[in-house]
Symmetry: C2
Subunit: 373 residues, 2 copies
């Protein structure tokens, strides 16, 4: 195998695929890129056995040549070293050549590297078949779904199902739900696929795909226990998480007698200020609602107390005191992505809702904590 490739295009390919490669692996082959050169172009593949990424660079496209002087073949090269070398080289082009079966030469005609390598046959067999339900989304819609839901998932592995976003499709509607059992985020989207199915997609995969996606539409292929995200020249494979996602509808109250509309930024800043002294108490603040005025306060025996009147509000409902974790409410308000937000309360010890007046597709639920003062 030999080829000379445009360095910037190759570096982008390696950076994309490197997302799948971990710093350590019980299978040494997984610390390598698998490079495969044929008459169509160069395929780079990487995996940690949970996520697999395959990226394809054509020999040429639209009159632009990316790869020259190639002979077909394949090899495994240390991801860490190949990426660092290609990043640091100065030249416009890089030449990769398998010298014998276990040495690869990398050069830009100025600096020369010889890396110990492995035969591509030593790479584990991976299931790279693509089939099943197809869902096509614009890059903007996909990124919005990810940014509005994944933060609410659990970051702990105690209940693996809560580290996924539940994706439920039916009659052309898709519902994406994430919860860590203390808060919940639900996003609704229209999709072209009208079949009924339900899967749990790992948050990690969604976040990584969202970061890699740029100005491409994206196709999700969902089958068995696997999802494949197809975008640009990239195929991103992730396992799904098995198990039943909790029935979240009963977390959501149906009736909200207390409704507060506030400017999102002003409210978040006031909460953040007041919570400065609330470090010890797990960043809990108290919101005191009354049609005459709305106040946020916090108190700590050791440090002191803080309070601030909320400006720019509309409130309907009786007097209500409710305490909550500032970060949960801040996340929920930011996910609403609107200038004003509506906080709807059912009572002091009931979950409450954060919504946008402009966008009904996104609903956030937060559970309060007991107030001690």
């Amino acid at each position: 195998m030999k080829f000379t490739v445009n360095r910037v295009s190759f570096l982008k390919q390696l950076n994309t695929v490197n997302v799948a490669i971990g710093p350590k692996s019980p299978t040494p082959a997984f610390l390598n890129f698998k490079l495969e050169m044929n008459d169509d172009g160069l395929t780079v593949l990487g995996s940690d056995n949970e996520i697999t990424i395959k990226n394809f660079l054509p020999v040429s496209k639209d009159d632009k040549t990316f790869i020259e002087n190639y002979t077909e073949g394949s090899t495994l090269i240390s991801a860490k070293y190949l990426l660092e070398i290609v990043r640091r080289l100065d030249g416009e082009k890089v030449t990769i050549e398998v010298i014998d079966d276990v040495i690869v030469q990398i050069s830009d005609n100025k600096a020369h590297f010889q890396l110990n390598s492995m035969r591509s046959e030593e790479y584990p067999d991976l299931d790279l078949a693509v089939s099943g339900e197809k869902v096509v989304l614009s890059d903007a819609e996909f990124k919005k779904i990810v940014s509005q839901t994944t933060f609410a998932a659990s970051t702990r592995d105690v209940r693996p199902i809560l580290t996924a976003v539940n994706f439920k499709a039916g009659s052309g509607l898709a519902e994406f739900v994430a919860t860590d059992s203390y808060r919940l985020s639900k996003k609704t989207s229209h999709i072209s696929n009208s079949n009924t199915f339900e899967v749990n997609i790992p948050v990690k995969a969604l976040n990584e795909v969202s970061k890699l996606l740029e100005n491409d539409q994206i196709t999700l292929h969902i089958a068995g226990n696997k999802v494949v995200f197809e975008f640009g020249g990239t195929m991103f494979y992730s396992r799904l998480i098995n198990g039943d996602f909790p029935k979240t509808s009963r977390m959501i109250p149906s009736n909200y007698p207390y409704v507060l509309k506030v400017n999102a930024n002003a409210f978040v800043n006031a909460m953040q200020r007041v919570s400065l002294l609330a470090v010890e108490r797990e960043r809990i603040v108290k919101l005191s609602l009354d049609e005459a005025g709305v106040e946020i306060s916090s108190k700590s025996e050791q440090i002191g107390s803080a309070n601030e009147k909320v400006e720019l509000f509309e409130y309907e409902g009786g007097r209500l005191d409710i305490s909550f974790n500032v970060d949960y409410v801040t996340d929920a308000i930011k996910a609403a992505q609107s200038e004003d937000v509506i906080l709807s309360f059912a009572g002091e010890m009931n979950a409450f809702r954060v919504t946008s007046p402009e966008d009904e597709s996104i609903i956030q639920i937060v559970t309060p904590v007991r107030s001690y003062y």
Copy 2:
């Protein structure tokens, strides 16, 4: 005590003094700012008992009023919380008021904080007298001295004297030397003080002062076991390090038969590239010198090998192979702060010198390592 202060000026004062305050202290009072308001202005003081910083903000200066509505007095307030509160407040002005002896109120008329505080009498007595030898330097010269020497000091506490920069003055010349015993940096400066004295200033103090210094000249006051840096409205006190600084002159060869002149950037980039594979061997590369060509190479049994010819060089001397730590030589070349650098070698196992063709005031010495291939 009560005062209303311009928030941005007060925040700058707190940020400056906070440099002296550690995250923990066996003396709880040292976790506080000491605030002292009198008719001249507001003094903020902080200390960790090794470094003490005092900053003064006048009531007004050049027709600009910084402080209003004040009554004299003093108090101790938690550095961590006061700094965070003043940073996050929105208002242009902040009012600080001691409510009773142990509660301070902080407010911008929108958000209100009540912090538990301590009486200023509970602050330890510190020696804040200023006397001794005076050395005045421009901010540019001081920053240059610091950036060209401190990196070469030891970062380990095994030999505390090596965590200092040795400052030797005599006949109007000052010599600043730092060494970790593997490399050495020596900077010479002309100073107005013609007395003879020698002290060891902790690198930490020099680096922090250099970061705080902006467009002011700086005066060093050196007496006993203490140095005081005076600049802007700030007095920065540091202990000196006792003990004899090693005699470094015998580390420096007197005769260099091999002399290489190279472009600093090109040489550093080539070294960094070639050393990519040298991680295991403590970032050692080999430099092969010959009048026909200069090459940098590295080799690792497990990973592979690398080599690159150096461009843009002038070399005088016979054939020489010498191996060294890439980071030491990179630091030395960067400290020379010039487009070209001169590397002068005495032999394969002798310390070598890095100098600038334009600036004789700075000399770097690096010891080589034995070459294994």
